[in-house]
């Protein structure tokens, strides 16, 4: 089943973040809890982790893009 990973609200008053680096490529396997990308939100560098195991599908942003809280970041085809 295809699941979507969104940019969570990590910090009060922070509405967006820069997607700085993809750590996983489309088609690559990801395990639950594994980081898929690194973001910078209001002077904080942190990673977005997969909430489920599977294969990374679509990436909705490029490195250097600004994304809003709640925006889809990527899809993961979850293990059956």
């Amino acid at each position: 089943m295809k699941r979507t990973i969104v940019l969570p609200k990590l910090k009060e008053n922070a509405q967006d973040a820069m997607l700085c680096a993809w750590l996983k490529a489309p088609g690559e396997r990801v395990e639950k809890g594994e980081a898929i990308c690194e973001i910078e939100m209001d002077k904080v560098v942190c990673q977005i982790e997969a909430a489920f195991s599977g294969v990374l599908g679509t990436q909705f942003a490029e490195e250097g893009d600004t994304i809003q809280v709640g925006d889809a970041v990527a899809t993961v085809e979850e293990d059956a």
Binding site: K11, C20, E40, V44, V45, C46
Partner: protein, 327 residues
């Protein structure tokens, strides 16, 4: 809170020390560090050094340039300032700056300084910034660090961060925000040296917490992390985001326009166009520039080998296309 004193003055060692306690030596209580370093420009993890660092100044004034693992803009510091760090295993909590800044602000208030917290996570006095902070999270641990300007060389700060032609680069890196700054020593009711200030601050912030010096083995491990993560050229300049720029000038031999693509601090592609006369060796020169570090000496060495390729344009003149602000 556990206070780890560190008498070294090497910025790379201290950034490695933070990483060591964040990832390898996880203590039960939060770790507090207070350290300082010789003249340093520390850029944010996703900044472009080409836009933030005055390359000529740092080369001639022995300023260390290092890339930290946290976000935000470029900071200058020297032995006239102090850096504080808190390392806590609270990665599931919402990101907070106030939580870490509270003990610092409290200590400053006790020293008679009317410091305030601002919306950009800075600390100010009379509206002027003396402290900036940033964070990174790794494996459930937060590393929060910040600067405290005590009697920092303001002239050096201004000159080291002045990049005259920064806007020529097209890049998606994080840009620094300029602020009016001040030194704490100018506001203290009681005069004291930088070392006295640091000692008082450490006592106030740790508030009776355990003092835990590093062992020799730990010191060696931290040095190894510094060698791996913070000292290599590839880590400092190779971490630059992609950037492009064009620069055009008229010389005796005609107008020459340079089109440059940079990636990870290295020239990915260089192309010369214009109304000049060039030999067939121009292709060879462009190929030789590909893969060259975007540094003045490295580029000059490649250009010197191609003297005469563009008629009546010298290697020194071509170099001014690559580094216009430094000539």
């Amino acid at each position: 809170m556990i206070y780890v004193p560190s008498p070294k003055t090497d910025v790379c060692f201290h950034l490695a020390l933070e990483y060591y306690f964040a990832t390898e030596k996880k203590l039960d209580e939060p770790v507090f560090l207070l350290w300082h370093a010789t003249p340093t420009l520390v850029v944010g993890k996703y900044q472009n050094t080409l836009q933030e660092v005055n390359a000529d100044y740092v080369r001639t004034h022995d300023v260390t340039v290092v890339r930290r693992l946290s976000g935000g803009g470029t900071m200058y510091f020297d032995l006239g300032g102090w850096q504080y760090t808190f390392i806590a295993h609270d990665g599931q909590e919402a990101i907070s700056f106030e939580k870490y800044l509270a003990p610092v602000l409290d200590a400053l208030h006790k020293l008679g300084l009317n410091a305030a917290f601002t919306g950009r996570n800075d600390l100010t006095l009379d509206g002027k910034k003396f402290s900036g902070a940033s964070q990174y999270r790794v494996k459930g641990t937060t590393v929060h660090h910040g600067t405290l300007m005590y009697c920092v060389d303001m002239d050096a700060l201004e000159r080291a961060t002045k990049v005259a032609d920064a806007e020529k680069f097209q890049s998606k890196g994080i840009r620094s925000v300029r602020s009016r700054v001040t030194n704490l020593a100018d506001h203290l009711p009681t005069k004291m040296t930088t070392d006295e200030f640091g000692a008082m601050l450490a006592d106030l912030i740790r508030a009776g917490g355990e003092v835990r010096p590093l062992t020799e083995e730990e010191d060696a491990r931290v040095e190894a992390i510094a060698d791996e993560l913070f000292r290599p050229w590839e880590r400092v300049y190779g971490g630059n985001p992609k950037a492009t720029f064009e620069q055009s000038k008229r010389f005796t031999g005609g107008r020459v326009t340079l089109h440059l693509d940079l990636k990870n601090g290295v020239i990915a592609q260089a192309k010369f166009t214009g109304d000049f006369f060039a030999s067939e060796a121009l292709d060879t020169l462009e190929a030789a520039l590909s893969g060259c570090r975007y540094e003045k000496d490295a580029v000059a060495a490649v250009l010197q080998k191609a003297d005469g390729v563009i008629f009546a344009v010298t290697p020194e003149e071509l170099l001014t296309l690559f580094f216009p602000e430094e000539n």
